[in-house]
Symmetry: C2
Subunit: 150 residues, 2 copies
């Protein structure tokens, strides 16, 4: 499991290769898409925890969240994506590009907790999911607070 997580982190934080095919505008658009779709899935989990709990829906949403975290989004923060490009605005702060070690420090728990969320969600215990959902959301907030403009 540790080896798997290490591999995931490596894939997620590296992988600048793939981004070469995308323009800065496309990178911004693509990463915003990933965050938006992940957010929709986080919202579904929350709605399930606050209302009618559907185990299958929660597990599917948690898988999407983990898969997004594991997808190597770091490659979408390439050169020239630190400001508005073409039609794509970005809320990322310039510090994000100047502090890769700090980004990594925030990305590792994000990847770890989303993967744990997928695991806990597959087991289907609502209270365990609630706890792990909160831990996961905290890792989102930690990065937003540091590196995202309001």
């Amino acid at each position: 499991m540790k080896k798997t997580l290490a591999a995931l982190v490596l894939v997620s934080l590296s992988g600048a290769v793939m981004a070469q095919a995308l323009t800065p505008e496309e990178m911004i658009r693509t990463r915003k898409s990933g965050y938006r779709f992940m957010d929709w899935n986080m919202s579904k989990i929350k709605a399930n925890l606050d209302g009618n709990f559907n185990k299958d829906q929660v597990a599917a949403a948690a898988n999407l969240v983990a898969a997004t975290a594991n997808s190597g989004m770091g490659a979408l923060f390439g050169p020239g994506t630190d400001r508005e490009v073409g039609n794509e605005k970005t809320r990322v702060k310039p510090e994000f590009f100047q502090q890769p070690e700090k980004v990594r420090e925030l990305a590792i728990p994000f990847i770890r907790e989303t993967n744990e969320l997928a695991k806990v969600a597959a087991a289907g215990d609502a209270e365990a999911i609630r706890t792990q959902f909160a831990k996961t959301a905290d890792t989102c907030t930690a990065c937003h607070r540091q590196f995202r403009n309001r």
Copy 2:
């Protein structure tokens, strides 16, 4: 495995509940985000098959594709999302909303083949992945041809 797929199809094709919280404009934006991010991950798999093959990157991308297919995107095609709304254009054809049985016929193989792609990708054999990637892409194309404007 069959039971799991059946559950996934059910979650993916139903689930109008969650969409109630979103406006038609948000539904269109969210589904376009999901397709865009999935497309990025399909492109990564293709680039790996055409160039340097990185097993971990392919497996991660395939997981994202399957998780997107399993996420219940059907809920994002709610009432009022059959045309441009606010700032969100959509390429979906009106027939999509008039032929739910045909949509289901196209969605089932899409979900099945993406999940198979994730499974094959986890095993890591490039030629098997190439074959399954093509089968998966065919299910995308089948729906685009029928229900998406150029």
